[in-house]
């Protein structure tokens, strides 16, 4: 089954949506992300939508759903990279994406997440090192 890959970097999960999403793919992503948050204890999710040339109400609802579920699992979500034409269209469509944090690009999104989690610039990477050393200790 077709899936959108989810990368883990320290305590962050990163998703880049590169395909024109059909509805089932969007639902699968929602489910996969919540599972990964729960498995990894990730504190933050960054979703890059710079490759999406439209966001309709279905995709908007999916993004809001991810942010809502992540919040319940104690993770913060930020959506980054929205194309200007998509932003203009969304506002006219009447979708305000309430409850979703957004940032202009990946760098600003990462900065926003670090600030909201009170992490220093490389603390998310630090945690990754300690996690990987833990796992090598276990094995």
């Amino acid at each position: 089954m077709e899936r959108i890959p989810i990368l883990k970097m320290g305590s962050f999960l990163l998703v880049t949506i590169q395909v024109d999403m059909h509805d089932q793919l969007a639902m699968t992503l929602q489910e996969d992300l919540t599972n990964r948050i729960s498995e990894t204890g990730a504190r933050a999710v960054l979703i890059d939508i710079s490759a999406l040339d439209i966001v309709d109400s279905f995709i908007g609802r999916m993004l809001a759903g991810i942010a809502g579920m992540a919040k319940i699992l104690d993770a913060t979500t930020v959506v980054v990279g929205m194309q200007p034409a998509v932003a203009i269209t969304l506002v006219e469509l009447g979708l305000s994406l309430d409850g979703i944090k957004t940032a202009l690009n990946v760098d600003r999104g990462m900065a926003l997440l670090r600030t909201s989690l009170s992490l220093s610039a490389d603390e998310d990477l630090e945690e990754q090192r300690s996690l990987s050393s833990n796992s090598s200790f276990v094995s």
């Binding site: 059909h22 089932q24 040339d53 109400s57 279905f58 908007g60 203009i88």
Partner: protein, 132 residues
């Protein structure tokens, strides 16, 4: 000018409709924002046709007005249950299903012309036109 009929029977058909409308808008010289608006409206209405109209089709037509301005006309038809209260269905935030209730009212704002005919038990037809 040219007309093409696309069926809307599966979720993947929505993606095909989006792609087709986007390409036609680009070919007709629509700017990026207008391409995005008509494609988004097409996506919303195709999903309505599938989810509420239980499937149907869309006729995509490229137009030219009397001053030679290009446009795109989309006619979404289904033979689903129809809409009993059109005024209510066109209200922002009203939803009969699992959406955000922005499908019809939102699409209307994204295009230049919007027309809806519906009859309970017969089906629904939504016609939109976007001029360059």
């Amino acid at each position: 000018m040219s007309t093409k009929k696309l069926q809307i029977r599966t979720q993947n058909d929505i993606v095909i409709v989006r792609k087709f409308v986007r390409e036609m808008a680009a070919q007709l010289g629509f700017g990026l924002v207008d391409q995005t608006k008509i494609t988004t409206a097409a996506s919303e209405l195709a999903r309505n046709t599938l989810d509420y109209g239980l499937g149907g089709d869309v006729e995509v037509e490229s137009l030219s007005n009397d001053r030679g301005k290009p446009g795109i006309k989309l006619v979404f038809s289904d033979e689903g249950p129809g809409i009993a209260d059109l005024k209510l269905a066109l209200t922002d935030g009203y939803t009969s299903g699992h959406g955000m209730g922005m499908g019809l009212s939102g699409s209307k704002r994204l295009v230049n012309e919007f027309e809806i005919d519906s009859e309970v038990g017969k089906g629904t037809r939504v016609t939109i036109t976007k001029w360059k």
